[in-house]
Structures are given as C-alpha cells and as structure tokens.
Amino acid sequence: MTTTASIWTLHFHSSSFPIPILSSEVRFRRYLEFACNCKNCTSRSTLRKFIVRAVSSDDDKRLRDEVIVNNSSKDNAAKTQQNPVAMFQESISSLPLLVFKTGKYSGVSFTVGLCIVATLLIIVVKGYAARKSRHNRPGSVADLVRRGQLRSDRRGISTPLKYEDPFNNPMVKVSKSNSSVEMCGKVYRLAPVTLTEEEQSVHQKRRSRAYQWKRPTMFLKEGESVPPDVDPDTVRWIPANHPFATTSSDIDEDLAQNNVYQKHGVPFRIQAEHEALQRKLEALQNEQKLNKLVIDPAAARDFERPLKSHLKSGDQVEQSTSNPKSSPNPPKSDRAHNSCEQTNL
C-alpha cells in the first residue's frame, strides 16, 4: 500500500504541484534503491524510498518536493537508472510487490467472505428444515393434503405426492392422445381386456368335458370292498403308507361336532385337571389345619401337572390320596425348617 501510495503520490505531486519547468535544466534526481529482480518477485518485500528533488536553476524559487519512501530491500541488487525505459521496467517489476501486498489483504477478505457465505448457508438450511418439519408435524394441515382431503396447489405446497395417493399421483403421467402412461421411468400402454361372456362359457364347457370329477365321500384302504350303494366315482383309495392319514376314525364325529360348536364352558381337558386339583386340595385340608398349612416338597410334587394322558393323571391322583395316609407326618422341627425355606424362596 505504501508502495502504491508512493507511486501515486509521486504522480500526484508531479501533477498537482506545478513545478515551473524552466528552460534551464531541471534536474530530477531520484534515488531508488530497490531490489529489481523480476524472477524472484514473490520473495521481494520492499518499500521504496524515493527522493525526488526538483531543483530549479532559478535561484529565486526553489521548490523541493520530497517524497520519501523508505526502501528496505532484502535483495542485494540495486539499480540506479535514469533512463525512462529503465523506469518503466522498474514500474513493471514493482507490480508483483503490489500483487503481494494485495494478496496479503485478500486473504483476510477471503476468510471474511467465507464466513459470511457459511452463515448464509446455515440460515438457509435451517429455514428449509424448519419449513419441512412444519409440514411433517403430526396432525398438521399437511396430513390433510397427504390424505387427499385438501389440494396441495392451493396451499402452495409444491412437493408432489409420490406414494401416498396411488390413484392421483402426479408422478404418473397419463397421455391424453393415446392410452399410454409414464410411470417409474417406463412407458406403459393400456390394453383392454377382451374376454367376453361367450368366451367364458366356451371355456367352461371345455373344462366340464375334460375334467370329470366327483367329490370323494368314501375312503377305503386296500383290500376293502366297495359298498354296493356307493357310487364308485366317489370312492377314494388311501395308500397304506400315507404319512398323515388314517382311515380308521379315532374321533367320534358327533363329539367332534359338539366340540366345534362349543361356545361356553371350559374345555374338557382343562375341566378335568381342575377337578383333580380340587380333590387334592380338599384331601390335604382334611388332614392338616389351615393355619399351619405348609407345602412340603413331597406334597408339592403331587400338584405338578401330569405330562402324559389324562388316565395317568387320574392314577397319580389316586396315589397321592393314598400316600398321605400311609406316610407319617413330618416332625415339627422339619416343618419349621421347610417353612423357612419357603419364605426364603
């Protein structure tokens, strides 16, 4: 800046301050000390010192303009030139200094500009996110638009519906001239269904001739004879090694039908187990007092649900009812020990 100022000041002074140029000689002496190395412009950091002295031959007037620019040159080269061409060369060579100086200050302005741009970007992004969240807020008017109750173009919501409304999707473009539709990047043509009632009946007649089938009502094993009053077309022969079939019905049909239509009451198995448990509790209560009722491990095993069939559970009930009679009552110390164990559990 100083260099620039120096140069322009020099020019300024030369233009603003009219120096009477006499016919006599005007000696213009300028001392320039600067590093003039055009190849190493970037390493140069100089301030020039110009001493300009205008000396008039007229002794009455002496004007002395001095523009002093300090010059501190790092380079060793120093030139003193009085040739205008050389001066021009020097001015050109001083330009990298100007660039260097402006570069120093442009770094600061660049940083400032970057901060301003980043701030503006953050503001824009926040505004966009806020606007988007306003539309996505549950229960907002955007939900009505999404559901198709309100038209979006009236409200200025320009986001097209992509998936919510498949029947009024602006992403699906229907051509008005021909029956073509553009959807998901592909073009589809609508082809009308041409099946008529007559063609349907023709197919039905064809199938009735080709496939003669009657629902089987009788299932017989190999070796069994067909009853005389049964249509042979309704008989189905079951192979002996069929994995999931049995021809002998283990299930009583009437009972099964009653079970299907059963609406109220506890099912049979659960009811039977409940009754067995009730009998066990009553038997225990008859033998022990209610306030000293202790569940000892031997009796607890009797309350376990039998894993196998109902008949076996009935046997266990009989055994448990007979066991308390045969085995002696545990001593009082054991009862106390068991009660402590139970409370700890």
């Binding site: 082809a191 079939a245 079970n259 299907v260």
Partner: protein, 319 residues
C-alpha cells in the same frame, strides 16, 4: 393399477365405461353386484352376502397362494372388514410365518375337534389389526382322518357364522398345493375361489385343471390373479402376457401382481407387503385386488410396457 387411475379420471380414459357417484351407491341394495371404480377416498362397499367364504388355490405349488392369502386378508382387514384366515394345509403350515404370528399359535383345529379348546381360543387375533384372526388346521406331525377334514372345515365355518362377536365379513382359506385330500378339504366350505397363477405354461396347465375341479364341485365364481409378472420380459416376448393367460384360461382378472423383491424381505420379516411404508408396487397391486374382491369387480385393462418415445431436440424447449 394404472387402468384404475384412468377410470378415476373420466376425461382422459377411452376405456371408461361406467360412472357412478357414492350417493347412488347408498341407495343400491347390499346384495347386488356392484360395478364400481377404485377410489382412494372411500371405503369399498361389500357385495354379496356375509360371510364370503373364498378359497385361494392354484394347483401348482410356489406360485404365491400363501403370499396372496396373507396380503389380501390384511388388506381387507385394513379396509375395515372382519376377516378370518384359515390355513388349510394339514401337514405344512406357512400362513402364520408370513403374518408373523408363528409364536402365537397354541391351538389348532385338531385341538378343537378333540375338545381341548374352544373355537375362540384357537383363533389368533392380530395385534396390529384387531379385526383379523388366524386359524390353523393342524400342527405338523398331527394326523387327521382323510375325508373328515372337509366336514370339520364346514362345521368350523358354520360355527364362525354363529359366534358372539358376529359373522365375519370374509373367511379366506389358504389351500394347499395339489388336488389331493388337502385341496378337497379346503374347497369344501367355499363359495368363491381366487386362482393364483404365474405366466408360465406349467402353472397354466395346473390352473386349468383346478378350475375344472372347482367348477365340478359347484364353485362358479372363480377369478384369477396373475402373479410374478415381469413387464420387461413380456415386452421382449420372453414371457406370456396377461392377456395371453386370460385367453388360455378364460377367467376374469382380479389382479396382476408384478415381480417384486420386497416379497422375500416381507416374508423374512413376518411383515406382509401391504403394510410397507412406502408401499411396494406388489403391495399396491394386492390392495387393489382386495378392493375388487370386496366389490366383486374385475380388471378392465392391463398395462403393457412399451419402448419410451424418443425425444427430439425441440422437446427440450417443451415441445
């Protein structure tokens, strides 16, 4: 799917053949068949008498019966109808896996017949949709007499009609593969059938056979769902088109389900496809098929993929 969109916009569709307004629907008696349009902002009106017992069958295994049963039944539940889904596969049970209810199945029809539990105790109510219930025929390795299963299923459907919670609107029966005893058991109580097929010749042949058996058994209301459709292969003429399938079978179309990888993911999660957010294409197709099932409607047009139009230079300027 798009045909329905066209039908909702009468100005653009040349295929639009029936117009109606919701007000006129209210005056119509409930039992009449309704030819209606899919509209996003209204509930479909139930056509026919409740309960509508529908069997979902195919003949060939692996075409998507159980997936269709799970998704359509949940779609119906979401539309507000009470649904009971029955897995009629005696030996191999899968519907509970697709619905994510495998840990909640304690009692089956086998226990009901034995008297070990009541019917309402064997019904598994879905916690996501309280109007959806699942009933499994049996646990693996359990034996049910052949021929007895058909009667049992008829008794069950009859018992469901007379239960205290009221008659369910839909009873969907997931039929096992084949035309054996399991198939006979599953179709016994049904009044309608949904035939699931894929656009390949093996599936079509089995579907035709099953359709013949259903018609012999007295089930006349049979509609078709074409599953695992690849529009790119149809465009390249490597796969039969949906219209070709219809021409071979001669059945009205209930739905066209595109091939979608989300089906496998939803099976792994135990989360049916129709509950996905955002919805998958196959899930949307299942929802629309459920809509048509409620109103006893069928598809009027199908989508055929075409080459996109080559845009000229001036199309950049909006031409």
């Amino acid at each position: 799917m798009v045909s329905l969109q066209l039908l909702t916009n009468p100005k653009t569709s040349p295929l639009y053949c029936h117009t109606f307004s919701p007000k006129t629907l209210k005056n119509k008696p409930r039992t009449l068949t309704v030819n209606s349009l899919l509209q996003y902002n209204r509930k479909p009106q139930l056509a026919g008498e409740a309960p509508r017992v529908v069997v979902i069958t195919s003949g060939k295994g692996g075409v998507g019966k159980t997936t269709t049963a799970a998704n359509i039944s949940l779609s119906l539940a979401r539309l507000g109808f009470s649904v009971v889904a029955i897995d009629a596969d005696v030996g191999l049970r899968n519907l509970d896996l697709l619905l994510g209810l495998e840990n909640r199945v304690n009692y089956t029809v086998f226990e009901i017949l034995n008297g070990d539990c009541r019917l309402d105790q064997a019904l598994v109510r879905d916690k996501r949709w309280s109007n959806f219930e699942l009933l499994c025929i049996s646990k693996p390795r359990s034996k049910l007499p052949i021929g007895f299963g058909a009667k049992a299923l008829v008794w069950l459907v009859d018992a469901l009609k007379g239960r205290e919670e009221g008659t369910p609107d839909f009873v969907l029966i997931d039929c096992p593969a084949g035309i054996d005893a399991g198939f006979i058991t599953a179709i016994s109580p049904a009044n309608e059938a949904v035939l699931v097929t894929t656009p390949d010749i093996t599936s079509l042949r089995d579907a035709d056979r099953v359709t013949g058996l259903l018609e012999c058994d007295g089930i006349r209301d049979i509609k078709m769902i074409v599953n695992r459709v690849r529009t790119d292969m149809i465009k390249g003429e490597d796969m039969m088109s949906v219209l070709d399938v219809q021409e071979m079978l001669g059945l009205p179309l209930l739905g066209v389900i595109p091939e979608d990888t989300e089906v496998i993911r939803s099976t792994n999660r135990g989360h049916p496809l129709v509950l996905n957010r955002p919805p998958a294409l196959a899930g949307l197709a299942f929802e629309q098929a459920a809509w048509r099932l409620v109103e006893q409607d069928s598809m009027k047009a199908v989508m055929m993929e075409e080459e996109p139009k080559k845009r000229g230079f001036f199309s950049l300027f909006g031409g």
